[in-house]
Amino acid sequence: MIPVCRLEDLPAGEAVRLDLTPPVAVFNADGELYAIDDTCSHQDASLSEGWLEGCQVECPLHAASFDLRTGMPTCLPARRPVRTHQVSVVEGMVYVHTTADVFAQVPADAVAHAAADAYARTAVEEGSAA
């Protein structure tokens, strides 16, 4: 159990990066706390610096997106999930319980499917928006 910060120091929409090996990011998504591995599974970028929207965080470098609840990528270029970790709050203090390997049972093709579908959608929405 690793202490993160006081709950009031992690307001909604914010994230904090823990310098562990590998680093972990803790998010406050509209009041819900989530923790995932901080390093994008695609390339070296810190997800704690990403764009938080609902339960998804978008990587600041190549716009890969991850579901904070599952660690699953929701669009390319990420194809592999990031690990998720349990978060608890004890007497106003936020703690992370790091997990070894929580996604080993997820079939890889399910990830690829979800990622490819979502990618096609978001890229086009973005392309036609401007």
Partner: protein, 385 residues
């Protein structure tokens, strides 16, 4: 459409194959790649790959599962040499032909070489094979390296070489590198990064020629002669003076080529069943050599190809990034040159800042150095229009 041929097996070609399948194309899909490698990511070649932080397995853009799902025929290690006048037959260097109902041109660009005879010790950095060769050289002893060209590839390569302990000089013909892309203020900041990394930057003089050991063609490089008469000694020269779109193979086709394959703003050429994407494509008058463009253009182009006409147009905001000397530079937007640059957060002195390019219409572009969060906010704002 029964057969679609994607000519080019890098990021844009792979993205096109993905997009075609995602759009429901279930016919025969052929992907032709001049390099023998399966699709790999080029940006790390000048950075993590060169310094040895990443190996080849980490460059792969797809894996076995995805390729099984894409169900494409990969013809790798063979160059396309022609497209017939109707845009129906792709001719390969080994004499084979691929009859196609639709063609995606994604042949990318090649590194622009310096004129003159071929010399040992002179490298370009575009392909995995280029990067392998250069990386091998960089691990044998300490070199005196001259990087010709101060653009992003040149700067990243210089940064990686310096990090490996080599003696590095960058030569730039313009008064400052990256002026057209970034404007004077930001170009000055980037020029300063070289110094911070212990690399000399020589600006305002072109390269007159290379010096060799006297054995002529196939000899070894010994120095770089500058237009102002100076000679910089070098046993390794990396040439980073831009890229030339790979359009030579289209000379027998009816497609218009002018620094790229000319397309409408949906990626469609003069032939409705031929689209072009990525570095080789001049879409709506603009050719981007950006990683993100190579992933976004194919989505729209694939849709237009399958529709048989332009039903969707490319929008979006150009975006690129560069990692050099420990700094992450990110740029988004369309700068026209008339803007003033305002530092919105941080400062160049502290090495971390967000700069906004502004004119009377508002913010046209943004550049950040090690400020990913505020940059992302601005980039999304630009994206929304």
């Amino acid at each position: 459409m029964r057969t679609v041929t994607v000519v080019g097996a890098s990021l844009a070609g792979l993205s096109a194959a993905r997009a075609l399948r995602a759009e429901g194309f279930d016919g025969r899909l052929v992907v032709i790649g001049a390099e023998q490698h399966l699709p790999y990511d080029r940006p790390p070649l000048s950075k993590e790959f060169l310094t040895g932080k990443a190996d080849e397995s980490q460059l792969a853009l797809s894996d076995d599962e995805e390729r099984a799902e894409l169900d494409a025929e990969w013809l790798l290690g063979v160059r396309a040499t022609g497209l017939d006048a109707r845009g129906r037959t792709v001719v390969l260097a080994d004499g084979r032909t691929v009859a196609s109902d639709g063609v995606v041109i994604a042949t990318g660009a090649r590194a622009r070489p310096l004129p003159g005879p071929w010399l040992r010790g002179v490298h370009t950095l575009r392909t995995l094979d280029d990067a392998r060769e250069l990386r091998d050289r960089l691990t044998e002893g300490r070199h005196r390296i001259v990087v010709v060209g101060g653009g992003f590839i040149g700067a990243e390569t210089a940064s990686s070489c310096a990090a490996l302990g080599h003696d590095v000089t960058v030569v730039e013909a313009a008064t400052l590198p990256l002026m057209p892309q970034l404007g004077r203020d930001m170009a000055e900041f980037c020029a300063g990064l070289h110094q911070r990394g212990g690399v000399r930057l020589v600006c305002g003089t072109g390269v007159a020629g290379l010096r060799d050991d006297g054995t002529g063609d196939g000899g070894a490089v010994t120095g770089v002669a500058l237009a102002d008469g100076r000679v910089l000694p070098a046993d390794l020269v990396v040439v980073g003076i831009g890229a030339v779109p790979e359009t030579g193979w289209l000379s027998g086709s009816t497609l218009a080529v002018d620094d790229g394959v000319l397309c409408d703003d949906g990626g469609v050429t003069a032939l409705p069943q031929v689209v072009a994407v990525g570095d080789v494509a001049r879409i709506g008058g603009v050719r981007h050599e950006h990683w993100t463009s190579a992933t976004q253009q194919p989505v729209v182009a694939a849709r237009n190809l399958l529709a048989g006409r332009t039903v969707e147009h490319l929008g979006g905001t150009p975006y690129f990034w560069s990692d050099q000397y420990g700094a992450r530079i990110q740029f988004a937007g369309r700068r026209h040159g008339g803007e003033t640059v305002r530092i919105a957060e941080g400062s160049p002195e502290e090495g971390s800042f967000l700069a906004l390019y502004e004119d009377e219409s508002g913010t046209t572009a943004a550049l950040a150095v090690d400020r990913p969060r505020p940059f992302m906010r601005v980039r999304r704002g630009l994206r929304m229009g």
